[in-house]
Amino acid sequence: MKYKLDVKSRWKDQIKVGQQLLILFLGVYVFLLLKDALFWKIPVIIIGLILWFNYRNKTRHPIIWFSFLILLSIDLIHSYFWVANHHFVLFFMVLAVIFFYYHKEKEFFVKNIQLVLVIVVLASVVQKVLSPQFVSGDFYYSVINLGALFKFFMKFIPESIEIAKSNSDNLMNLSKTNPNLGETIVLKDIIPNLRYRSQIFAWLTIFVEFIAAMAILIKPKNTWSHLIFIALIIGVLFTRLETGFMSVLAINGLFLCTNTKLKMLYMIIILGCIALIIMKLGYH
């Protein structure tokens, strides 16, 4: 009984739990990126660890968060056009956590996280609307026919795997030819009417992302807002195993959530994604 109460009281403060999960994610993520700009990262890690080990309870400065911020900044300076988009989100989140250590106002921290999350999802909507390849359905049409999306569902339609493989092989052969010859390949549809399905799916994606962004903007604590957002995260994970980005979005969701059951759901998604990242499964 005491154990249950302990767990319940621990989950009351989602900001604390979210920060712990963010630290865990950052540890794994930074480790995976360690080989890039290693020369600059080694001193940061060594000095950070020494300071943290000796002064963690003697200073009010969040040493570990500053270390992560510097490590993320090194990657941004070194590989601005190569880092994943969730690298930028992580940078903003760590910045918000550091500010929180000084101002101690939960309201400001939650506002930072809420607005950053809304900006990320809305930017994604804007990018999709501005891309003719996306709104026409051509993007989904090509990547689905090449077997890059819905791999999980393709297992249930074995012939679709064969068609996708044949399309990929044709594309590989095309890439070996001189493009000046103007050769074209014809993609075979892995399922009937893929062209129309792709168009519908493209607009459905835009609609769901827009609704999720608006829900988080207008009602950031509402259960329905989080259900929509969690549905979006799970939907993306089933479409393509984007474990890195989805765990970052889920940590943001957790920071805003007040419903214990949904907090637990966020935690399962985050830890599940982190486990997959450690196993080097998915895209991180």
């Binding site: 601005y80 056009f81 190569w82 988009n85 990018q127 074209t184 390949i185 993609l187």
Partner: protein, 135 residues
């Protein structure tokens, strides 16, 4: 700092920073042909991945040029993610400097998909001809 300014900064400083990054990325997409996939604009899965762009240099194998050469990999990689004239020129100059040819033609091709006809083809995005004497 006045209290109101401080509150506004603490509440909206980071989100405004995030908006600036997105705006810069969108600007680079428009003016420098940056891929929507990169640069912090959250445009993944909105267009065909930049890895499908193709650098073509008549008389050369791109795979052989970039193999075990970090500078080539980085310069060619930049051209794939941002296929514009400036990056094309950088690639052309680098290849001219490291090989024994007097002139070079570098092309960058982009994939085009037509779901109506079910076709996948490539269109020329940029092309450059550089002579060693002009370096």
């Amino acid at each position: 700092m006045k209290n109101v300014t401080k509150i506004v900064l603490l509440k909206y400083g980071i989100p405004v920073f995030a908006i600036i990054i997105v705006a810069v990325q969108l600007f680079l997409v428009k003016t420098k042909d940056l891929s929507r996939w990169k640069g912090g604009g959250y445009g993944m899965y909105t267009e065909i991945h930049y890895a499908y762009n193709q650098i073509y240099i008549p008389g050369f194998s791109v795979d052989s040029l970039v193999k075990d050469n970090e500078q080539m990999q980085s310069t060619f990689g930049r051209l794939l993610v941002m296929p514009n004239s400036d990056n094309l020129e950088k690639v052309a100059k680098l290849v001219l400097e490291t090989t024994h040819v007097d002139s070079i033609n570098v092309q960058i091709w982009k994939p085009i998909v037509n779901s109506k006809e079910g076709t996948y083809t490539r269109v020329l995005s940029h092309e450059i001809q550089v002579k060693k004497s002009s370096l």
